[in-house]
Symmetry: C2
Subunit: 233 residues, 2 copies
């Protein structure tokens, strides 16, 4: 990670989409800004937790390894988002996950001790961070259930819907650079299976391919695949 020489406005620091104005003054005092290249690993599973990060620019994938060649992408942190907060724990000081830049990005690092100190004197921040964790837990458990019971097709459909919702559309395609491999890791399936599923969805006129990117053409139909149709027997 190269330390950035440019100055970035502190206004870009958010926890998820909730702005945290009480956080801003602190950041000015104690931040380090890094430039990271596409594919660069910012920290990895097992590393000692040294602090938390905010995204100034670019998208960061948060993922968890399995064996030597498999992983599961848990979340994508976008501009303004926080990451590395999964290192906060009452039990361990080791990151349970890795963070990797999906594209060239700029991130802001806050020392852990400093972050804790700030939290301890700033009730509103601690409260909001708690709610943020609560939201992430809900999301995580929803995905967990889907992983257990939903088919790959349903999971791909849902992932695409979420991605389009989150990143929007640009040049008639979902505005995120995400390799098929990453998409596969995101839905928890293999490259080939996801590939075939995408083809299927194209044939069924639910989505269309725009270069390497994807555009949803039939939201309703896609949503249909995410439903628990077996229950209507």
């Amino acid at each position: 990670m190269k330390i950035s020489k440019k100055e970035y406005p502190t206004q870009n620091c958010y926890v998820s989409s909730n702005c945290l104005p009480e956080w801003l003054p602190a950041i000015n005092v104690n931040k380090k800004i890094y430039e990271v290249k596409k594919g660069e690993v910012i920290f990895k599973e097992g590393d000692e937790v040294t602090g938390v990060y905010f995204v100034y620019d670019g998208n960061i994938k948060v993922h968890k390894k399995w064996g030597s060649d498999k992983e599961l992408i848990l979340r994508i942190a976008t501009k303004g988002g926080i990451f590395g907060h999964r290192g906060l724990s009452s039990k361990s000081n080791i990151y349970p996950i890795s963070a990797t830049a999906l594209e060239n990005a700029t991130v802001c690092f806050i020392d852990l001790a400093f972050f804790y100190t700030t939290l301890k004197v700033n009730l509103d921040l601690a409260f909001k961070l708690m709610l943020f964790f609560a939201d992430e837990l809900q999301e995580s458990e929803r995905k967990m259930r889907n992983l257990a019971h939903m088919t790959v097709k349903g999971r791909v459909a849902q992932a695409l819907l979420q991605l389009q919702e989150k990143f929007g559309i640009k040049d008639r395609a979902i505005d995120i650079i995400l390799s098929r491999q990453d998409l596969a890791s995101y839905v928890g399936a293999t490259y080939e299976t996801v590939f075939r599923t995408i083809n299927e969805l194209v044939l069924e006129n639910c989505i269309s391919l725009v270069g390497k990117s994807i555009l949803i053409t039939d939201n309703k139909k896609l949503e249909g695949f995410t439903l628990q149709t077996e229950s209507v027997k």
Copy 2:
């Protein structure tokens, strides 16, 4: 739920295993205590969030439905534990999960508005609750990865190890009443598959059956199944 007439000591209120002494005075003021019967639903997915609960006695399963006849058990709240806190959210006021008593139990209910008020004036509590959520998120994401990549045998092995760790041994068996159906929902597999897997584990001398309960006889071997053996190729 029947309102309990007995008086319970407030000392039994914890968040997970972390005692929260600052919470105790509040509980005296504003608690309702309920007796719930085995199998009774305390609240269910989709209900409006009215508050959070603490377990005085018994085990409570926290689960999420899929379709009409499938579910995934996310967690089991034990004596002293909190549940219903998944209803806390910045976005919605609807429980994303259900809570059902695994056995006759006694729970303590705290009104949501009151809980929020307490959190807002009690920094230490908010901070601890935040850490508690962080821990739960870690655990949830670990399970998620396992669900995506681990075999049923590995997941059953891990579940049994965790259960024995958490509930201990009594009468030469893991000290929890958990039907095979619930165990299946806990590992995210079908009844039959889990049944066969248990048999396998007995044949391999990893576990032994004690009535309907299970005892681990070979921890090491069981742990072996939870490893990512494919990586050693």
